[in-house]
Amino acid sequence: MQRFGPLTRYLSEKVGVNFEAVPVDTQDFEGRFKAGEFTFTHTNSILYVMLKHDYDLQLIAAEKRGQFGPRTAGAIVVRRDSPIKSLQDLKGKRMIFGPQMAPTGYMAQYDLMLKAGLDPERDLAFSTIPQGSFKHEKLIYGVYLGAFDAAAAPVLDLETMTREGKIAADDFRILAQSEIIPYCTFGAAKTTDAALVEKFRKALLELTPETTVEIDGERRKVLGAAWVDGFEALRDQDYDPVRAMAKRTNMPPYQVY
């Protein structure tokens, strides 16, 4: 949570409200939001779509990180020297996915496989989801170190790990990549005062890499601490590709049992 400390302090100062950042497990988010525990939300794009659909969440702004700004994609990767050359070759192989509510670590790859005529539930010999923190890094290393044949890798994590020198671009082959979809998003509960939402949005959009706040006597860069390049105003229809993907993969809020 230290990551979001400077951003929370900045928003409190700019908006004039004493905000408190609350870490929430993705699986618990909807229940806690419904119970009225939060006014402002910072979630991935699936959760934004769910909360918009079910509770008319107001869109504030999207977080910018990496080559595609406020968007990113999901990729299915194998080691460069793998005999797997196409999605069809994944049949009978071991694959590792990101958490089930991850738009570009699970849903996008599930969708890619369905589109290629593969059933991820039946056609793979084995599939799993890593536990604990740094799940996306774990699945990329899982393939790199040979524990799995393929991974559902978020492109943003591939970019970050390459930039940090943890992996090389030549280590992997990208079998398929999804369309580019919005990623982390700030929203506000429907009943939130419109002027407060606007102040919050303005504060986010005004952030620059040089913006700092004081935390425990230390000046900290707000965006740098949060691992974010900035914020961008998106429109609700920019999330339509996420909705279409969620429908195709039978994910919330459109799942049918």
Binding site: Q67, F68, V155, A168, A169, R173, I174, G230, E232, A233
Partner: protein, 180 residues
């Protein structure tokens, strides 16, 4: 000092020689031949520098270009991330990124990268340069301007669109021959 005719002749001779030297210094500039030699030298030097830069870029960015040409656009972008650590701020990385992002349909992101490349190296808009990419830059900027104007009509406070539109205008201005 000028005691006899010989002394006077010596002094006169010295004055004539000094005058001739001064006249020579005033009137003699570099010959046309020497000027041409200097021009040729400069052209050769520039040519060699240009060739060295092209060879340097091919050596470092050849893999990116091969990946791009094979259609492995995401791998090419990852390779550029890797190269950014070795050659931070190299404008050619920004140029290739701009081209690849354009191929991926991300016109606004492409514009920002291309503007960064042109700000870093004007050769990309110089028709005489081996690095000339005028057609690409004109095409992307031409596509971007109406898209961004439409976006701004719907969301006038969209700072990102404003910044990218400025980049697109900057590129069009440079293409038209304007200064930075």
């Amino acid at each position: 000092m000028l005691r006899d005719r010989f002394d006077r002749l010596c002094i006169l001779g010295l004055v004539l020689v000094a005058g001739a030297l001064v006249a020579l210094l005033v009137t003699a500039g570099p010959s046309a031949g020497r000027q041409n030699d200097g021009g040729v030298e400069r052209r050769v030097e520039q040519e060699m520098l240009a060739q060295a830069r092209v060879a340097f870029l091919e050596r470092h960015y050849g893999t990116v270009v091969s990946m791009r040409d094979r259609g492995e656009l995401q791998s090419a972008l990852l390779k550029l991330e890797e190269l950014e650590r070795q050659l931070p701020g190299e404008p050619h990385g920004a140029l290739l990124r701009g081209e690849i992002l354009h191929r991926m349909g991300l016109v606004d992101r492409s514009i920002s990268s291309l503007a960064l490349a042109v700000r870093g190296n004007g050769d990309y808009i110089d028709p005489a340069s081996p690095l000339n990419q005028r057609d690409l830059i004109a095409s992307v900027a031409g596509q971007a301007v109406p898209l961004l104007r439409d976006r701004l009509r719907g969301q006038p406070d969209d700072r990102q669109a404003v910044a990218v539109l400025k980049d697109a205008y900057y590129l069009q201005s440079r293409l038209a021959g304007g200064c930075e």
